[in-house]
């Protein structure tokens, strides 16, 4: 059984540059801070999307998605809470939702009459918004570092899954790998990632103190 973690009393704010800048954009609508975020994230978003060449997502759409995502970042920034997510994770989810929306429009899907939006479906918060965050369970830097240590085939399939935003089935048909292989590489990759994170975390635990 998984015990529900208690909310830690020290609701520490994130100190990393990007999260601070994003908070500033949200709180005081600071265009200078926004320009700095743009300079850092826009090229990464473009690079991420160019790793995404497929029929539904033409290469020349990369600038368009950068524009769309960064505008959404500005619009949604007042809702950003650095105690809940790092800027990079938050911007990743904004980008993901933008892309789902764009691909959906390209496929001319019918609109639901009562207007359910992508942001309603890709929204993990519960009704009260009382999200219990286990934010320190593994921080972004640790995940990033552990990810580079994965065996290439597992890392590769995860990059494909994320960058191309495709189902395992689509990746299987495109790469010619059996679906079962794609699935198991993802699963094993994630398990291995977990092990690496826990391992790296153990050595860091002395500084952080034991977790619940």
């Amino acid at each position: 059984m998984v015990s529900i973690p208690t909310i830690s009393s020290d609701k520490s704010q994130r100190q990393d540059t990007w999260s601070c800048l994003l908070e500033q954009v949200g709180r005081v609508r600071d265009q200078q801070a926004f320009a700095q975020l743009f300079a850092h994230f826009a090229p990464l978003i473009k690079g991420f999307c160019l790793g995404n060449l497929n029929a539904n997502f033409p290469a020349d759409a990369a600038e368009e998605i950068v524009q769309e995502v960064m505008f959404k970042v500005w619009q949604k920034a007042p809702g950003y809470d650095s105690s809940k997510a790092a800027a990079s994770t938050w911007i990743y989810t904004v980008m993901r939702n933008c892309r789902i929306d764009l691909m959906r429009r390209n496929q001319r899907q019918p609109h639901s009459s009562d207007g359910i939006e992508i942001d309603d479906i890709w929204d993990e918060s519960d009704d009260e918004g009382a999200f219990v965050y286990l934010q320190q369970a593994s921080n972004e830097a640790l995940i990033e570092q552990s990810f580079t240590q994965l065996p290439p085939e597992q890392r590769q399939v995860l990059i494909q899954v994320y960058m191309q935003g495709k189902t395992h089935q689509q990746i299987a048909s495109e790469t010619g790998l059996p679906l079962g292989t794609v699935k198991s590489r993802v699963r094993i990759g994630l398990k291995k990632l977990q092990t690496l994170i826990v391992g790296a975390d153990k050595s860091a635990e002395k500084n952080w103190g034991p977790r619940i």
Binding site: G47, A62, I91, S113, I121, W122, E124, D126, L134, L190
Partner: protein
Amino acid sequence: MIKYHPDDNLLTEYASGGLAIALGVSVCAHLQLCVQCRQRVEQLNKLGAAILSQSQAEAVAQSTFETVIARIEKEQQVVSEQVHVSAPKKLALHPAYQHDPMLANLPKVIAKLLPSNGKLAWQRSSPALKTARLIAGQREYEVAFQRINSGGKVVEHDHNGMEITLVLHGSFSDEDGVYTAGDFLVRNPGEIHRPTATQNQDCLCLSVIEAPVKITGMLGKLINPFLSFKPA
């Protein structure tokens, strides 16, 4: 206590945004009920952020930045011209749903799918089972509520396509176990089962079924079940 969860593959497809809309709805509804899977997805989102951070940076045209700034300034003008900044819309459930104990406390993504006129079009599929189609703005899957009367048995059935069932209220059982609110089940073609609702209350489930027949071409668009389904 939720016992059945979406697997890591499905959660990864959700976090990476590859999942079809209808499957996204079912996973999202589960997440809104299950703190454990929310944490998992939070991790998977961080992995997305890591992959984004490690992407090959590509120079972005200066004009793109200028366009964004222009849009921002235009929007700020509009906002400052409005006297009241509208508060985030709180979803108001139609009274018809508020008074139905089964529908009053749905995960918010499901509540969004309820027809705004308060009229769910229930159709009797069998003596114990009623079904109401939901419109999720897509064509690949049939999204519906299934309501089993307390103690009711559903005829034994198979599926042509994959079926996801999310228990929203009450509970039901089949040969393999008992399923309660929040449980997320995936059945593949060939897995025959016969659900029975528990005696004390009706059971409400969200069901997402892969469209059994793929109709393509012009005619397909005309007779597509989702397009022909119009809430009264």
